[in-house]
Point group: C2
Chain length 201, copies 2
């Protein structure tokens, strides 16, 4: 068969959830695009991979040293919302209800998937807290087994900070559900009803 | 938010069946690829769009003037299998049971979708038959309403050719099913049990 077709089908098949059938369908769509559209697609993919960075302060995806949230002087720098991944930041930002900063862990602790605490940006979080201005840490982590493990690990790491308010978003989000997939109302509600954690010793 | 992330999410969202959530997931995968992998992906997409052609004889996708099937001297040039789309050629080739040539219509007649007979490569088919060597035309078209409409339209166009054997693949494929999604055994069976069409007048 056509080598060009084979190549594009193989490449699309490397994307998650895309089998050969879907890859063929995506390829046919590329054929329907104008050449300018294809150039834009290709440029966006390429520029993203080469240009995207992690925000030096919060680990969010960013075009610059600091992400748009951290660089925004109007954000409340005394509150940090800790999330698993970039998609969570996007979901929370869409509610327009949150004015503080974020901290993107980059995943959750998962022995099954070989993700250890050291694979997450937890040191960066404690460094940020140690350096001053943060008065409240909101833990917006999914209520999955891995999420709960991560939550308790972080709580333990934060015990050292006297006077730091630690909250978790209200459990309006069903157990086992991922934050990324919750609707905006549920996320808004969960943020507004966050509760302070009783620090066990 | 990040412009680079916005751009790649928007571009992935233009693919069929890909919403914002999926686009974000695909983007995160791109981030996990090595830069060389991204370069290969981008090159495959770009080269496909600029380099791919339609075979001058059968309308199959091709890297050259003639596709690999038409250019292969070992294929039986007296038999042509008429299919809707490129995916059908790939499915039939995978059975390894068919040694003839193909003819890719490029769709089916569908007034609902604004696809008229003139949008399909039917003239090219009758030209190929008029020019000589073809003795049998196998109509391997889906048994959908549009497929049946297309089948009868083509039968009508082929009436002019005296002595031409016209067959349809056996109806081992369920009514309403698309050929592209049938399994290899069903397709093999359907090809082996093709029956000659009684030419109505």
């Amino acid at each position: 068969m056509s080598k060009l077709l084979d190549d594009i089908v193989r490449e699309f098949s490397r994307l998650p959830g895309v089998g050969r059938r879907t890859a063929l369908r995506l390829s046919m769509q590329v054929l329907r695009w104008r050449e300018g559209d294809v150039a834009e697609f290709v440029r966006a993919v390429s520029d993203f991979r080469t240009g995207i960075r992690h925000c030096a302060r919060c680990n969010n995806l960013s075009d610059n040293e600091l992400c748009d949230v951290c660089a925004n002087p109007n954000r409340d720098r005394s509150t940090v919302c800790v999330v698993e991944q970039v998609g969570d930041v996007m979901s929370i930002e869409k509610t327009g209800q949150y004015r503080g900063l974020y901290h993107v862990l980059g995943g959750v602790i998962s022995p099954m998937s070989g993700i250890a605490p050291s694979d997450l940006k937890i040191d960066l979080l404690t460094e940020n807290i140690a350096s001053g201005a943060i008065r409240e840490v909101i833990l917006a982590i999914s209520t999955t087994v891995e999420g709960e493990t991560t939550l308790f690990y972080i709580l333990n790491r934060l015990k050292q900070f006297e006077g730091l308010k630690i909250t978790t978003i209200a459990r309006g989000i069903g157990f086992g559900d991922e934050i990324e997939y919750a609707d905006e109302l549920t996320i808004s509600h969960a943020l507004a009803n966050r509760r302070e954690v009783e620090k066990a010793d």
